[in-house]
C-alpha cells in the first residue's frame, strides 16, 4: 500500500523489514529522525533489536563493527561531522570486509557550520572502501536500503545509502512499503562466514606486514570492482520482485539524440528532469544521467550512457578544494581511458543546501551547450560580491 510518509520514517520502515539485530547511532541533524524512529520501534517492541545510543559517532561505528563481526545484521546512520568522526572506523569496517549498511543523511561539512544538504560528507570518505549509492527519492531510499543488505552480504562489503538531508529526510512523499514476506524472500537471513567465535579463536583486521598488506588492499579493490555487476544485478532482481528498479549503477534520462548530457547525483535529478523536459520542448537536444553508484565508480556504465554525447556537464554538490569537482575529474579520466574525447564541463552547486532550481539547471545546460570553459570547475550561481576575504576581516 502506498503511504505518505516523511523520508526518515519511510527509510526506517525499510530498515525494520531487513530485520537488523543491532542498531547503534549518535544523533545529528538531519539524520536524527531516522534514529528517533528506530529507537521508538525498539522501545515499543516493534523491532526485536538491540539499540545502543552511543557516546559519539566513533563509538556508534565501533559498536556496529563489533556486531557484524559477531555475526549480527546491523545498522547505523549519520551525517556530516558525524560521518567524518567515524572515518577511522569506516576504513576498519571496509578493511575487515564487514557487510554493514548505513544511511548517510547527506549534509555539508563545517566550517562554517551548516546543517543543510550537500555531498561533501560522503564524498570525503570515498576512498574508505564502502559502496556508495545515491538515491533520488524516498521510494528509492526505501528500496535501496533493502538492496544494500543483499549487496553488502553478497560482496562482503559495507554499503552507504546516501540520501539528501532535508530534501529527502524531511520530505513527506508517497512511498510503497514492501510486505515483510516479500522482503524475506528477497533478502535471506544473514550468515557471516567469518563470524568471530570464542570456540574457534580468530582475529579480524589483525597485524599485517609489508609482505601481505598490499595484497589485502588489492583484494579489497578487486572486490569493489566486482561489486559493480552485483549491484546492477540486484537492482534488476529487485525489479522482478517488487516492480521497481533504478538503472543499477547509472540511470539515463532522455538520452536519445542528446548532444549535451548532464550527469548528477541524488535528489537534484528531479529538477534536472524538469529542466531537460523544458529544454527538449524548446527543441534543445539535452539529456541526463543520474549517477546512482559512485563507489565502485561505474566507468563502463557511464561510457555506455555517454557514447552519443557531444559534451557532458557534471553538476555536483561536493568538490576537492584545490582540484575541483570530484565526479567530473573521475569521469574525465574514465572517458580518456576509453579513448572518448568528449569534453566534460564541471559545475559545483547546491552547497550547504542552496536550492538547485530548474531555472539554475537550464542556465547550466545553456552555458555547457555553448561550451567554452572546460578547463576548470565553476560554481553554479556564485555571487562573487558576497565572497569574504581575509583582508576585510
Amino acid at each position: 500500500m502506498r503511504q505518505l510518509l516523511e523520508g526518515s520514517r519511510a527509510v526506517v520502515e525499510a530498515v525494520r523489514l531487513c530485520r537488523p539485530q543491532v542498531i547503534a547511532a549518535y544523533p545529528i541533524t538531519p539524520q536524527t529522525h531516522i534514529i528517533e524512529h528506530l529507537a521508538q520501534f525498539v522501545a515499543d517492541g516493534d523491532l526485536p533489536a538491540g539499540f545502543i545510543n552511543a557516546e559519539s559517532e566513533f563509538g556508534a561505528a565501533s559498536v556496529v563493527l563489533g556486531a557484524v563481526a559477531g555475526g549480527a545484521r546491523a545498522f547505523t546512520a549519520t551525517a556530516s561531522q558525524g560521518l567524518l568522526l567515524m572515518t577511522e572506523v569506516l576504513y576498519n569496517i571496509a578493511g575487515m570486509r564487514l557487510p554493514l549498511v548505513m544511511v548517510c543523511a547527506n549534509r555539508a561539512v563545517s566550517a562554517p557550520i551548516n546543517i543543510f544538504s550537500d555531498h561533501q560528507d560522503s564524498m570525503s570518505v570515498r576512498d574508505a572502501g564502502w559502496v556508495q549509492l545515491y538515491v533520488e527519492s524516498n521510494q528509492e531510499a526505501v528500496d535501496t536500503v533493502i538492496q544494500a543488505y543483499r549487496i553488502a552480504e553478497t560482496c562482503e562489503l559495507p554499503v552507504m545509502v546516501c540520501m539528501d538531508g532535508f530534501f529527502l529526510t524531511h520530505t513527506f512523499e508517497p512511498v510503497e512499503i514492501p510486505e515483510q514476506a516479500a522482503v524475506d524472500e528477497f533478502l535471506p537471513p544473514f550468515h557471516f562466514a567469518r563470524t568471530l567465535n570464542p570456540a574457534q579463536p580468530m582475529t579480524l583486521g589483525g597485524g599485517s606486514e609489508p609482505d601481505n598488506y598490499l595484497e589485502f588492499r588489492a583484494a579489497q579493490h578487486q572486490a569493489m570492482e566486482q561489486a559493480s555487476e552485483v549491484i546492477a544485478a540486484i537492482d534488476l532482481d529487485f525489479g522482478d520482485h517488487f516492480g521497481r528498479s533504478y538503472g543499477g549503477l547509472a540511470e539515463p534520462y532522455r538520452l536519445e539524440g542528446a548532444d549535451t548530457v548532464m550527469v548528477t547525483l541524488g535528489s537534484t535529478m528531479g529538477a534536472v528532469r524538469d529542466a531537460a523536459d523544458t529544454l527538449r520542448g524548446n527543441g534543445m537536444p539535452v539529456g541526463a544521467v543520474r549517477l546512482r553508484c559512485f563507489r565502485p565508480f561505474p566507468a563502463q556504465a557511464l561510457i555506455h550512457c555517454l557514447a552519443g554525447a557531444k559534451r557532458v556537464v557534471v553538476l555536483e554538490k561536493a568538490f576537492s578544494a584545490g582540484m575541483g569537482g570530484i565526479v567530473s575529474t573521475e569521469l574525465r579520466a574514465a572517458l580518456h581511458q576509453a579513448g572518448m574525447p568528449i569534453p566534460v564541463e564541471s559545475f559545483i552547486g547546491g552547497l550547504g543546501g542552496r536550492d538547485l532550481t530548474p531555472a539554475v539547471i537550464e542556465e547550466i545546460f545553456h552555458l555547457a551547450a555553448s561550451g567554452k570553459d572546460f578547463a576548470t570547475s565553476r560554481f553554479a550561481g556564485l555571487d562573487t560580491g558576497a565572497m569574504p576575504s581575509i583582508e576585510e576581516t
Binding site: 505518505l4 516523511e6 538531519p30 546543517i115 543543510f116 533520488e136 527519492s137 539528501d164 532535508f166 530534501f167 529527502l168 524531511h170 520530505t171 513527506f172 512523499e173 508517497p174 535528489s267 537534484t268 535529478m269 528531479g270 529538477a271 528532469r273 524538469d274 536550492d355 538547485l356 532550481t357 530548474p358
Partner: protein, 212 residues
C-alpha cells in the same frame, strides 16, 4: 457559539469535493513562526490531499528551528507524480499564520496572479490587495484556536479556511489527517483541532458566500 461547528459545517451542504480525476498542480507555501506549527500544517494538508487521491508532497524550509523565528513550509498537490524537491517559489496560495510577517518577510513573493492569501487576522490589511489581484481570506485563527484548543494555535483553522475557498482538499480528508497524525497527542487534541478546522472552514465558506 452554542451551535457546534460540526453541525454547521455539515448543514452548509456546499462543501467542494476535490476530484483527482481532473488535471491539477497546486503549490502552497506556509509562513509562520517557530512553534506555530507551519511544518505540521503542511504535513496535514499533504496527508489529506493524498487521502483524496492526489499525489502530494510536504516539506519544511529549516532556516531557523527556534521558537518565534520565521518558518516556511511547502506543499505540492498534483494529479501526476511529483519529482521536484525544490522549494516553492511561485505558490498558488500562501497561508500566513502570523500577520506581523506581512511586514517583516517577503511572504507574498512569487505568489501567482489571483493567488490565495489565507491570513490569520481579524481583517485583511488595508490596501494590501491593491498591488495584485490577490484573493484575501482573513480569519481570526488564533482567537478560534484559543477557543477550541485552549492555546492560540491558528493551524487547523487556517487549513479549514484554505479547504473552503480553494476546494483543493476535502474537509473529510483533513479531519482524517488530523485524527491519524495527531493521534498520539490524545483524543482532546484531535477533537479540538477537528472542531477548529470545521470552524475555519465554516467562516471562510461564509465569507466567500458574501463576496460572491
Amino acid at each position: 457559539m452554542n451551535e457546534s461547528p460540526e453541525s454547521r459545517a455539515k448543514s452548509d451542504g456546499k462543501e467542494k469535493e476535490p476530484a483527482a480525476t481532473m488535471q491539477c498542480f497546486h503549490e502552497i507555501r506556509f509562513h509562520g513562526r517557530g512553534g506555530q506549527g507551519a511544518v505540521s500544517a503542511a504535513a496535514l494538508l499533504a496527508l489529506a490531499a493524498f487521502d483524496d487521491g492526489f499525489e502530494a508532497q510536504a516539506f519544511p524550509k529549516f532556516g531557523s528551528e527556534r521558537r518565534g523565528a520565521p518558518v516556511e513550509a511547502y506543499v505540492r498537490i498534483s494529479t501526476t507524480p511529483i519529482r521536484s524537491h525544490n522549494q516553492v517559489y511561485t505558490p498558488d496560495a500562501v497561508v500566513i499564520q502570523d500577520s506581523t510577517l506581512l511586514h517583516s518577510e517577503p511572504v507574498l513573493q512569487g505568489l501567482k496572479q489571483v493567488g490565495w492569501v489565507i491570513l490569520n487576522s481579524e481583517q485583511p490589511p488595508v490596501g494590501a490587495s491593491t498591488a495584485q489581484a490577490l484573493r484575501w481570506v482573513a480569519i481570526p485563527a488564533s482567537r478560534i484556536g484559543e477557543q477550541f484548543l485552549g492555546r492560540p494555535l491558528p493551524n487547523t483553522v487556517l487549513l479549514g479556511a484554505l479547504a473552503a475557498v480553494t476546494g483543493w482538499v476535502s474537509l473529510k480528508a483533513l479531519e482524517q489527517a488530523i485524527a491519524s497524525h495527531l493521534t498520539n497527542k490524545g483524543e482532546d487534541v484531535v477533537k479540538g483541532n477537528i472542531d477548529a478546522l470545521r470552524e475555519g472552514y465554516r467562516i471562510a465558506a461564509e465569507k466567500q458566500e458574501q463576496v460572491s
